[in-house]
């Protein structure tokens, strides 16, 4: 449909947008703030006879998945926190090991900070059961709730990938049987997407590691 087409056009635009935003904010050190990504809606409403325009940013919708410990993970799990999310599968022969190796950097750096959490979705729930994810997490020596590896209904996982602006699809022609992007998506406590980084590139993850404190600081300010 038309809307969908527009969305896809926009997805291609995101890296450029991120770069432009990065350049802009890179020069303006005084009060850094990460951009809110996604197609925005402007809704007009009337207040005391005057028209006011509200800008609405897309939000990550409600979700419920099961993590490596068999526990349910929902939006509530991340209430008041920020999280970094990605899409992978345990038998992936292409980009996943690099993604996981880079995600480990984030894990190690924020191991002791309860404000930051990680969420990895399998895009191969048929194979990646709770037990398989548990073994994978154990091998990486990482634990929930800091790093949740989740499985669930295949459709729900692929749907939510789109909402995170990440490509994830089954494709028999691809090595491993799936096509997906190696993106790491940074989400704030209001379920807004604040950054998208290539999780297979160390320099991009360096940028993520610089952006996380900026977002944490912003959220602290808002709470005061």
């Amino acid at each position: 449909m038309n809307l969908n087409k527009e969305k896809y056009k926009f997805i291609g635009f995101i890296p450029a947008l991120t770069l432009a935003a990065g350049l802009f904010y890179g020069c303006n050190n005084a009060e850094q703030k990460l951009p809110i990504l996604g197609e925005r809606d402007v809704v007009e409403r009337e207040v005391n006879g005057q028209t006011v325009a509200d800008t609405l940013y897309p939000k990550v919708p409600d979700f419920a998945f099961t993590n490596q410990d068999g526990q349910q993970v929902t939006n509530q799990t991340f209430a008041g926190k920020i999280y970094i999310t990605d899409f992978f599968f345990t038998t992936c022969p292409t980009i996943c090991p690099k993604m996981k190796s880079q995600m480990l950097r984030v894990y190690e750096q924020y191991k002791d900070n309860p404000q930051v959490m990680l969420l990895s979705h399998t895009i191969d729930p048929q194979h990646d059961s709770v037990a398989v994810l548990k073994e994978y997490a154990d091998r990486l020596s990482v634990k929930a709730p800091k790093w949740n590896f989740v499985t669930g209904q295949k459709d729900s996982i692929y749907d939510i990938a789109q909402r995170y602006m990440v490509t994830a699809q089954e494709d028999k022609a691809e090595a491993g049987g799936f096509v997906h992007s190696g993106a790491f998506v940074l989400v704030d406590e209001n379920r807004h997407i604040r950054g998208i980084y290539d999780g297979t590139v160390a320099e991009e993850v360096d940028k993520l590691l610089k952006d996380i404190p900026v977002l944490l600081k912003e959220q602290q300010h808002e709470k005061k």
Binding site: I95, P97, K100, S101, Y136, R139, L140, S141
Partner: protein, 136 residues
Amino acid sequence: MRKNKLLTAFIGFALLATLTQCFTKKKNEGEKLYTANCASCHMDDGSGLRGVIPPIAGSDYLVKHRRSLACLIRHGQAGEITVNGQKYNQAMPGVEHLNDGQILNLLNYIQTNFGNKNERYTLVEVKSDLEICPSH
């Protein structure tokens, strides 16, 4: 006479340049093959992925299982293996399209990079290793 000498020198030089280029290419083949076929799992620096994918860098497996590595590259590997005392259990796909010479270059690259200073292979060695690959 003098013209002939000049021509000989020129041809000699051109030949040398071509040959050198040939060797340079061959010398880099192992690295190129590693980047194309191995690096996404074993990482650019050969460090592997903690607990999931064993390292190439400083790996005792390369020395202990030296003569089975050619088959491992060609046909892949499944089941539990121990590297530097740590157990790993992640299937590795084979790289069936590599010829014997390419496997030789890849092996020699792996054995002498990432801080590894292990013995190199000869083509004869690799060929005879590949003849007795276990059934897969």
